[in-house]
Amino acid sequence: MQRRVFVKSGALALVTMGLSPSFLRRTAIGMELPLAQKGKVLICLFQRGAADALNVVVPHGERAYYNLRPNIAIPAPIRGAANLGAIDLDGFFGLHPSLAPLKPLWDAGMLAPIHAVGSPSNTRSHFDAQDYMESGTPDAKGTSDGWLNRYLATSGTCEQCAPTPFRAVAMTPQTPRILEGSAPAVAMNSLEEFAVRSGGGDQTARLEALYRTGSADLIHGTGQEMFEAVKMLRSANPQQYLPQNGAEYPKSQFGTRLKQIAQLIKSKVGLEIAFADVGGWDTHVNQGAATGQLAQRLDDFAKSIAALAADLGDGMENVVILTMSEFGRMAKQNGNGGTDHGHAGAMFVIGGPVKGKKVYGKWPGLAPEQLYEGRDLALTTDFRSVFSEIATKHLGAKNLNAMFPGYSTSSSLGLLG
């Protein structure tokens, strides 16, 4: 059995079925799959360590919030001193002052915070909760693949799209759990590192030749695919990249990685799913309030995302950025000026297709009887509801059952138009 596949410089070639490179196999299967929507991009950003949702999207209209957090609460919006209090959104919620760079996105109707969202599992283990958020199967540890990979594996590329090794890219040293699975995904520390490291001579050319000796097995095929990918990326010339629209990325690792995601999108290598993560959210001790440890993390976070949105400019019409963290933190501050592991958290959904300027999710309240297990923000929105809505409405996913086995929801938040 033979299939027509993309092999070299966009040309079609015949490869014996079963021996073709991984992304080509998927493409072959993709012929029977629903087609993804051309040019749509989803960027998932994972805040590892459990970000303190109550100080990120601040319920400044909730009195209990200030009772629970006498030393670390973000003050209600302060007229004339915007950097000291929350940035008001709707009279009840506000953004942490370090998130000021995101306020223009709110004003433009492109930013939708979701509150009291997360995993229905009661685990307070970083490991387990990240596992569940990435596998998309709360409390089921046997799931070997991640939900983004299941999306890729069960959705075709679009009709007009050329097969590309860059359909799913994680800007991480290893493939993250969320992208593990049968569909190919490229993980790279940086664009610069996605290259053969030989600094001269004919070493690289000879290596490529070794993979083009005519053998049609999986190793040779994948190697050819890789050399094509390296050339494709090279023609995008990442070294010459200049962000547009005055975007200024922070020089942090996170900022750099978001810049490189923007580069990939603009270089039109067929990116559909991008992933990056950022640590430093496990604020058990001295997390600070309007300033301090958490404020510093949020500063980098917000400036990086704001730069990405600015850089992409009109391109944001086809882009959705989704932020997530494994759980929220305790409603009450602890004895060390920090917060311990909690339950529900907050997400941001950002992009042109987003119906923003509204805080989504039913607010469960912070009175003692309203708290989950007497201590944490209760959950009112299952994260799979958010993921499902974005996958279907933005990416055109049809097979939600494959993405989130055993989960069905009749309602959606209506985040996207």
Binding site: F127, G142, G199, Q203, I219
Partner: protein, 642 residues
């Protein structure tokens, strides 16, 4: 297929009479009649086993030379210079028989290397006391947690803790590579790798896990890797590494179930869990209110280990158990715990105050009410002797040693050996290694190496020195298989297709480039044993020497031609990827911005530092001559196979 059926019957019905003869015959066949002229440079054998390899008299499709390469590629982490000659001299079958008895193989060189490594000779509790997790230390230092407010003495303490954690992590991860590199007991090490993946644990599960790893590897897994499956399973079930990783240490009777003894009656040492920063003291007694709070906070039954015990460790996912079985297995194992993992634990302990004393039914077996640790022991007996377990373990072993798609007849025979010998792993492996399927043409060079195997096989072929730093382990991680870094309990892929993707193959090629440039610790592309005679040889001779040392001699004419000459017909020069420096001159990497090789779930990352092998981040000077050929060979498609 008929042949396999008859062989299956033959092998177990007539084995006792035929093995001795078969061994002699096969030994002759394997040597191909050629005189064993080269002196065996292999390991010294403490006692010559009076036990021949059990060999099926079936036909072997592989040639004598292929058989030598084959056993070295499957029973070891790669041939060292001289290994081919040694196996040929000893005889393939006798060599297999030796490897099946690692205790008879002298391993003093490897043992000497590990003698000074603290993690391998210190219990986890002591390690964690000596090298506390930096985050825990910060918490213990209390309100001054902000690093900028620490006193100089506290900063020193914090630095030492960070260094200590790095040392523990390094020893556990590098230890895996260095043992695979050095040990003469190669089959035992392959089996250790197999079982560590079968009983996978994750270094970032939480701070306590990392302190357990060296002990888990060297005390729990390796000594049992060719022993009885039941013993191995029980050792794992009682190991702090697994108790912590799959949460069984905190699984206890649900509130509506009877407990073996009332809470607070025993196991008072657990009370320290309530204290912050471990100040509670081991013997602290809890008030009833504290006990209740503890029970509430820690919940009741945790099914995690009970489920994986059947799904991943024994019966297999389709092994025929139900959700009720999962719950009842978990109930039976309540109270299998360890004291205070946050401060190092103290080894396995059965805590009757946590144990669900109600009656249970597990896979059709009734467990009476009112019992204690026997419940869990019975469960381990039941699952380790379940027919699905024999099949599942046999299937995985055949997949490891023979082919990604295991021949069903061989799986059946191996499973039969498992049943007949009450789970004697050595005998199951012997059945597989003496089968015609193992020596078939289809099996030859059909497996794709894991990243760990890629790295270690290159190091072995080039006679590398062990790397006491984390760098080589980071190289393995860069290639996609961080050691103890598989987050979910199903372990790393065991079939080749899952290891092959564009990023992975690029990293493998770059590993070859790094070797050629001399950037891999402990290894030189031009001074390995065998290189001396090639230094002044012709390029053809150099290529043949490298092909022999690294690729088991088997490459196509085309490949050989590319290794010899830059000219090749497979690449028009216009299409070739040129590497002029304007391409990728990455900026220098700021070490503070480079995360540790593993994701750090806690985010505050004590394990930061110059984590990645710099060789992967920069263009390297072009290699020439023999070094170039070595680098090309390691980056070649052929090197990815075993």
């Amino acid at each position: 297929m008929g042949m396999h059926d008859s062989l299956a019957e033959y092998s177990w019905m007539q084995r006792p009479i035929t093995i001795a003869i078969a061994a002699v015959m096969a030994g002759l066949t394997a040597c191909g009649g050629s005189p064993a002229t080269q002196a065996a440079s292999g390991p010294r054998i403490a006692s010559v086993p009076n036990e021949p390899a059990a060999v099926d008299m079936g036909p072997r499709e592989q040639t004598a030379d292929q058989q030598v390469n084959h056993v070295l590629s499957r029973l070891t982490f790669g041939a060292r210079p001289g290994d081919v000659e040694a196996v040929r001299s000893i005889g393939v079958d006798k060599w297999i028989a030796q490897q099946l008895h690692p205790e008879r193989i002298d391993d003093s060189k490897s043992d000497a290397y590990f003698a000074p490594l603290e993690s391998y000779h210190t219990d986890a509790e002591e390690l964690q006391r000596k090298y506390p997790a930096p985050n825990q230390l910060l918490q213990r230092l209390g309100a001054k947690g902000d690093r900028s407010k620490l006193t100089p003495a506290e900063l020193v303490e914090l630095r030492d803790a960070t260094e200590g954690v790095r040392k523990i992590t390094t020893e556990a991860q590098s230890g895996r590579i260095d043992r695979a590199l050095l040990t003469e007991r190669q089959l035992q090490e392959v089996m250790t790798d197999f079982w560590l993946n079968h009983f996978s644990v994750y270094i970032q599960k939480g701070p306590p896990e990392r302190y357990q790893l060296a002990q888990y590897e060297s005390q729990v897994i390796r000594p049992n890797s060719l022993g009885k499956f039941h013993t191995l399973l029980e050792s794992v079930a009682k190991s702090p590494a697994m108790l912590f990783y799959l949460d069984n240490w905190q699984s206890q009777a649900d509130s509506n179930r009877p407990r073996l003894v009332a809470q607070g009656g025993r196991g008072g040492g657990r009370g320290a869990l309530l204290g912050r920063g471990g100040r509670g003291g081991r013997g602290a007694q809890l008030t009833p209110q504290q006990q209740q709070a503890l029970a509430k906070r820690r919940g009741g039954l945790n099914e995690n280990y009970g489920r994986e015990l059947m799904e991943l460790h024994t019966l297999g996912v389709d092994g025929g158990y139900t959700q009720d079985d999962v719950i009842n297995v978990a109930r039976a194992l309540t109270g299998w715990t360890m004291p205070r993992p946050q401060v190092g634990g103290g080894g396995f302990q059965f805590n009757p105050a946590m144990h669900d004393a109600g009656a249970k039914v597990v896979l059709g077996h009734k467990l009476a009410a009112g019992r204690g640790i026997e419940d869990g022991e019975d469960v381990l007996n039941i699952v380790s002797r379940h027919p699905s377990t024999a099949h599942y373990i046999a299937f995985k072993l055949v997949r490891r040693f023979v082919a990604d798609t295991p021949p069903a007849e061989l799986v059946a025979r191996a499973a039969e050996t498992f049943r007949r010998t009450d789970g004697d792993i050595r005998e199951v492996v012997r059945t597989i290694l003496s089968s015609p399927e193992f020596f078939s043409r289809a099996a030859y060079r059909s497996k794709i190496k894991s990243p760990f195997e890629v790295v270690v096989s290159a190091l072995r072929a080039l006679g590398a020195q062990p790397d006491p730093t984390l760098r080589t382990a980071q190289t393995v991680a860069t290639l996609g298989e961080p050691i103890y870094g598989h987050q979910s309990p199903n372990g790393w892929p065991e079939t080749g297709d899952q290891w092959m993707n564009t990023g992975a193959i690029l990293n493998r090629i770059n590993f070859g480039v790094a070797i050629a440039a001399g950037r891999v610790p402990g290894v030189s592309p031009t001074t390995w044993k065998g290189a001396e005679s090639l230094k002044n040889a012709s390029v053809e001779q150099q290529v043949d020497g490298v092909v022999s040392a690294l690729l088991g001699g088997g490459v196509s004419t085309d490949t050989r031609q590319i290794l010899i000459s830059g000219k090749n017909p497979f690449l028009d020069s216009a299409a070739a990827l040129d590497t002029t420096p304007e391409m990728a001159r990455p900026k220098p990497v700021d070490p503070d911005e480079v995360l540790m090789m593993l994701p750090d779930p806690a985010g505050l990352g004590p394990l930061r530092g110059p984590a990645r092998d710099r060789a992967f981040g920069k263009l390297l000077p072009p290699a020439k001559g023999l070094a170039l050929i070595v680098g090309l060979a390691i980056g070649s498609p052929e090197f990815q196979r075993r």
